[in-house]
């Protein structure tokens, strides 16, 4: 297996800008483009907490698809796989400010954190206050549990986005919203797997070895390599060992209720996702864990990577109530409680 280098673009160097134009035009009732940023078409009510994220592009529908009611107020999209710079993040903070303070969520990647920290400094220099920043991580493969803060952000952060968005929309204070972010983060674990790799649209560089078809578990959202599994491992076995690793790391007791997210990293078929999901549910059942909510589809993609990630979020302490609140972004619509 090798990778697709031919892409349907105009000038790759303008791909992100043109993507934003096209995506926003296709969802004009929900989002609009301001100063290169994706913002809600109808701003949140005054006095409520604004929620912002800056991130590299190439992970769509994250994060452009999660801007909307009950979700983000502003998404500052950087170049492909690169966080935006501090100035852009400061403008995002300003755009999200409705007078109730602004929560800047950061998925833990070196560049994202550095640029966010520089942005906070810049904002302070400019006299902007009422800004809180929470760094989020969930990927169990990226650091051992005793160094949990060194873990990187993965697909499971969708649980955080969803619930923080709901809390802010409900009118929770900045402190309360930041507490929700930390609480959900601490209850969330993810682990990814992929076979093959993708090519960077601008540099054309394949990430890792394009001839390697081994299944790699613990790969990062930018194609950073992980551990390798044999060729003959079936979907049930893969799902089983990944779920076991997540549950062991989270230390969940039998009887616990979790949200289960199965993320498509890009080009997995819904057929494969569904078969993997079935395997994950069986693995959860073996451990006495109940999946009370599910989400299966593309969340944080890595272009057209043939991979996926499982994430679980321990849904205790009022989280279910937050999860079930309505949300409406270009990439995610939920009307009250949906499915399970």
């Amino acid at each position: 297996m090798s990778i697709r280098t031919r892409r349907f673009l105009n000038d790759p160097a303008r791909a992100v800008a043109e993507m934003l134009e096209g995506y926003v035009a296709a969802h004009a009732g929900i989002i609009s483009l301001r100063d290169g940023m994706v913002v809600r078409a109808t701003p949140k009510a005054e006095g409520k907490v604004g929620v912002v994220i800056g991130n590299g592009s190439g992970h769509e529908p994250a994060m452009i698809g999660w801007v909307g009611e009950g979700l983000f107020d502003v998404n500052v999209a950087g170049p492909i796989f690169s966080s935006p710079g501090p100035g852009a993040i400061v403008r995002g903070i300003e755009a999200a400010d409705r007078g109730g303070g602004v929560l800047l969520l950061v998925s833990s990647h070196a560049g994202d954190i550095m640029n966010a920290e520089l942005a906070i400094e810049e904002a302070e220099d400019e006299g902007i206050d009422g800004v809180e920043m929470v760094v989020l991580y969930d990927d169990v493969a990226s650091a051992p549990k005793d160094r949990i803060t060194e873990r990187r952000g993965g697909a499971g952060l969708f649980f955080v986005w969803k619930m923080v968005g709901a809390a802010a929309e409900r009118g929770d204070s900045l402190e309360a919203c930041a507490a929700v972010a930390r609480k959900v983060r601490d209850r969330t674990r993810s682990l990814s797997a992929a076979t093959g790799t993708v090519a960077h649209p601008v540099s054309g560089q394949p990430l890792g070895d394009p001839e390697d078809t081994t299944l790699s578990v613990g790969m990062g959202v930018h194609g950073e390599p992980g551990d390798r599994l044999g060729e003959d491992v079936g979907a049930d076995e893969i799902a089983g060992l990944m779920i076991d690793r997540l549950l062991d790391d989270a230390g969940l007791p039998s009887g616990a209720q979790v949200g289960l997210l199965l993320n498509n990293a890009g080009s997995l078929t819904l057929m494969e996702l569904s078969v993997l999901y079935r395997g994950a549910r069986a693995a959860l059942e073996r451990r006495g864990i109940e999946a009370v909510r599910s989400w299966m589809g593309p969340y944080a993609t890595t272009l057209d990577m043939a991979g996926f990630a499982f994430a679980i979020c321990h849904m205790d302490g009022g989280l279910l109530e937050l999860y079930d609140r309505s949300a409406s972004g270009a990439g995610f619509t939920m009307v009250g409680r949906q499915g399970r």
Partner: protein, 213 residues
Amino acid sequence: MIDRDLAVRLVVAAHARVNDHQEELSRLDSVAGDGDHGVNMATALAEAARRAEHDDHGTAAGVMRSTGAAFHETVGGAAGALFGAFFGAMAGQLSKAEAPDATQLVAGMEKGLARVARVGKAEPGHKTMIDALAPAVRAACESLNGENGLEAVMAAAARAARRGATETAGMRPSAGRARFAPDHSLGTEDPGANTVALVLESWADQLRTEVRA
């Protein structure tokens, strides 16, 4: 004296050099990172060179400040933040002198290194740009203390940076994306350290040419 025009020529030279090596830099970053380092650096320096040539900054400090901004505005990511920080700190130092010379430039490099270390929190040996930048700053200081001129100081810095970049091949990363697969990048040099070496080499070459002309 390092005036506005010399600063412009240095930024233009850095862009030309990094641009020539952009594929190699992205390839280095693709081994355990996300394959974009060459694109990032070439994009930022192209914008920096464009601004340097077209805007009217007046001073070398102004050119360095707008170069830092170009990194922050066009690229972001880890290296965007760090090179932006480097040039920003350098600009702050240069702006203190009426007519900055080699001493100020080396002081600017020291300030840049300190800012990079503060923002990135990486230490020497973590397989990052620090492993080229730190020895380069040290070599520049020593050369300056030996009462050498700007050309020789920069030549010493460039040699040290290159040596430092080469040595990163033997390191296991503890910072940046590559740290998640520490063994994967063994034998491969760190991309950011290479950019540091390329930039300083382009400056050394530019200064040598100018002195000879």
